[in-house]
Amino acid sequence: MADRSLVHVAFYAALIAALGLVPPVAIPFLGGVPITAQTLGVMLAGVMLGPVRGGLAVLLFLFLVALGAPILAGGRGGLGVFATPSVGFLIGWPVGAFVAGWIMNSMKGTNILVAAAVSAVVGGIGVVYAFGIPGVAYVAGLSLSKAAIGSAIYIPGDLVKVVITAIVTQTVARGLPGAVFTRT
């Protein structure tokens, strides 16, 4: 991997960490999985960097979490978080970024706002929940449907992040076109 790619991968991993400092919106249900701005970083990593580098950026972020850096929202970190019900979502993040980047790549001809939104919805929401819900069900010993209902309250917040992802991607494509790798 070229040095430039490594720096970009690290950049988005750091962005996800920095977004963790945006105060999480606590919803007093399923308190183990707070609404955070961090999935915004996951969506952006995939949409901007493309599948491989986007997925690697999220993996690098999770690697730092596992090493003990308290960079998950709410200052959480360490190996302990991989034993909580959030684990499915954490595993879904790199896959989600990968899928988002892949879709973004295959929609090169489409309007960038639309392409980014579709990629973020499928990768950042669809894929992430496909991993997250079974994760909650498995760790908590709940049925899939109960886990799904419990997780669904986070979807409105995620849709807001999809909109932000699309707007930021479009803006960067205008202001610094070289930084949107899925379009070059």
Binding site: F11, A14, G77, G178
Partner: protein, 202 residues
């Protein structure tokens, strides 16, 4: 604060990182096969004992569980409604035991030591002609980038506040993205100017 590491001298701190990681991995595998409270009770006692052996700071770490409380209460309620109350209790105990055990490794192992143990796992990267030390360089870059980004954002926000009186706005996202992305380009060039990351493989 950049790590949850607990600065202290204790026998758990002195135990090799690889051993601690292996122990937690095995414990996780085993405990997921277990459903009986009578096995979890002694496990919980052991884990709590380990925290206690770290002294007062160790026990203070238990407050981390507070973040899970709400979830655990709802979980128990759900199991109670579906008539599997005791199964719910067992699951909660397993969750607490595994969370505390994994967290114990993190608070008693320095990040460098952890990285050292993991390092051999990156050896296969060399098969693809990549330096196995790239992940470590990536970690360093992230640790440096994150505070810098916050700085960029706070400068933008201060300027915005001076102009408009408002504390912040989503409008700052675009200049933030562009400014910090440009910074990352500079870093990439600086890295190249210093011989690039390939220099690390030697």
């Amino acid at each position: 604060m950049i790590s949850i590491y607990l600065q202290k001298e204790s026998w758990i701190h002195r135990t090799p990182a690889g051993f601690k990681l292996l122990a937690v991995a095995i414990a996780s595998l085993l405990l997921f096969q277990v459903k009986s409270i009578w096995i979890f009770l002694p496990c919980l006692a052991v884990v709590l004992g380990l925290y206690a052996s770290l002294g007062r700071e160790g026990l203070a770490q238990l407050k981390l569980l507070r973040g899970l409380t709400m979830f655990l209460v709802i979980l128990l309620a759900l199991h109670w409604v579906s008539g599997t109350f005791w199964e719910g209790v067992a699951i909660i105990m397993r969750l607490i035991v595994l969370f505390l055990a994994a967290n114990l490794v993190s608070i008693t192992t320095r990040m460098d030591d952890m990285l050292e143990v993991i390092q051999p796992l990156f050896k296969p990267l060399q098969l693809f002609g990549l330096s196995s030390r790239k992940p470590a360089l990536g970690v360093t870059l992230v640790l440096r980038f994150a505070p810098h980004m916050l700085q960029v954002f706070s400068i933008l926000r201060e300027a915005y506040q001076a102009r408009t009186g408002a504390r912040g706005s989503w409008r700052l996202l675009a200049p933030f993205a562009i400014q910090s992305l440009r910074m990352s380009d500079n870093v990439a060039e600086a890295l190249k100017a210093r011989g690039g990351s390939q220099g690390l493989s030697r």
